[in-house]
Amino acid sequence: MPNPLHIISTGTANTASVLAAWERLGIEAILTTSEGDVREAPRLVLPGVGSFGAAMRLLEAEGLVPALRERLASGRPTLCICLGLQLLASASDESPGARGLSVFKATVSRLPDHLTTPSGPTTQRVPQLGWNHVEAPKGSRFLTDGFAYYANSYCLREVPQGWNAATTTYGVRFCAAIERAGVLACQFHPELSGRWGAALLKRWYDESPSNHANAPKKGAA
C-alpha cells in the first residue's frame, strides 16, 4: 500500500476533483486541517480556488501559516495547485494589503485583458479558461512539455530566485509551474489536465523525497 498523502481542506477548492485524481492513481488521500499533518505529512497538497486574501485568512484562522512556511522553505514534498502557487508569493494585486506565505518576495499580478501586438491593440479573455501549452525547463525534476488546463485571472510573472520554472504564454509569459526540492507549485490544474496531468501527479508522488532527512536544505535548487 503506497503512503497516503494529505490534502489541506480549504472548503472552497474543487477538492472532489483533486481527491478523484489521486484515487485514479491508486493513492489514498486524506483531507486535513491539522497543523500536525501540515508539519509531519510525508506528502502534502495545497489546493486552491478562490481569492488570495480569503485563502490566506482561512489558513491563518486554522493556524497553518507557520507550519506551511517552514515546510515549503525546507523543500518537503508539497504540491500547490492554482491559487496554491500564488500563495507562495508575498502579495497579490487581487487582494491589496493581504500578506501571502512569503516563501519568496513577489507580487502576483492580473493577466492583461488589453494587449499591444504588431497589428495593433487587441483584447483577450480574462479569466484564462482552457488548455494552454506548458514549456518545461531543461533538467526539470517533475515538469515536461504538454498541454495543461488553466482557470486563472492572476499569475506570477517573475521566476523566484532558486526555483526552476516552466512557462506558459497568455498575452504575457508567466510561471506555469515552479519547482524546488520536493515542492511543486502549478498555476494550472494537474488534476484536470488529462493523462499529461495524471503523469505529472504520479511523478511528483514517486520522485519527491518522502522523509524529512532526505529533503535538501533551504535554497537548494
Partner: protein
Amino acid sequence: MLTSRVIPCLDCRDGRVVKGVQFQGLRDAGDPVELAARYEAEGADEIVILDVSATPQGRANQTDTIKRVRKVLSIPLTVGGGVRTSDDAKRLLDAGADKVGVNTAAVLDPALLTKLAERFGRQCIVIAIDAARTEPPETNPTRKRGATAAIVSSQPTSWHVVIRSGEDRRPLDAIEWARNATHLGAGEILLTSWDRDGTKAGYDLDLLRAVSSAVTVPVIASGGAAGPQHLIEALQAGADAVLAASIFHDGHYTVRQVKEALAKAGVRVRDDTVTF
C-alpha cells in the same frame, strides 16, 4: 497561446443521457459515465452535464451521476441545471463539478451571481443563457425592398432571454444580460441559441458575434451544430469554445475527427496524444 475547446454536452435525466429538439421530445442517448470516458479518450477538452430533470428525485440522481462521472474523468466538468442557491452549487462542487452553470435562478435573482463568485471564485461560475431571436416588428414592404444601411442598422437583430427550459420568455435583452451577468460575477458564458438548438442548422453566428464582442470573459457556443464546419464558423465568429451533443451521441463524428478538422482549418486545438 490558449487553444479552442471542444466540449461534448450530456443532457441528463434520471441518470441517463437524453436528447431532444428545443428541449422537447427527450430520447435516451446512453450512460453518462460511459460517454464521458469515451469523449475524454477521444480528446474532448471538457465535459458539460446539464440536468434536465424536473423533480427533486431527479436532482438527487444528478448528484450521484456527477460522482460517478468524476471518478473516471480527468478533464474539467461543468454542471448546470436547477442551481438556485450557493448551497446547491456547493453540493455539485462537492460531488465533483469544477464549474457550476446557473441560468433561471440568476435571471430571477441576479445577486446570486455575486454570492456564487464571492464564495467560489468567478472562474467557477458559468452563466448559461438561452437566447431567442426577437421577432422583427411589422415591416413596411417598401422599406424592406429599398432598405438602406441606415434603416437596417436602426432595426438591429436582437435576442431575448428564455428561461424555465423554454416555457418562459423574458423581456430581457440577451446581450445586455450577458454583459450584466459578467459584471455581477460570472466568469464564463454558455450561450445557447434557442432557435437553433437541435436543428442542425449551425450556431447562431450573429448572436455569437454580438455577445463575444460585448463581454471580456470566455464564451461557449451552443445550439445547432451538425458537423465540424459549424464549429469552425463559431470559433471564427468569436467563440472561445464550442459545445455539441447530438453530433457526438449519434456517432456521426468522433471528438477526434472534429478536432482534426478544426486543426486542418487553422484552429489551434490541444494535442492530447503526447503525455511525456
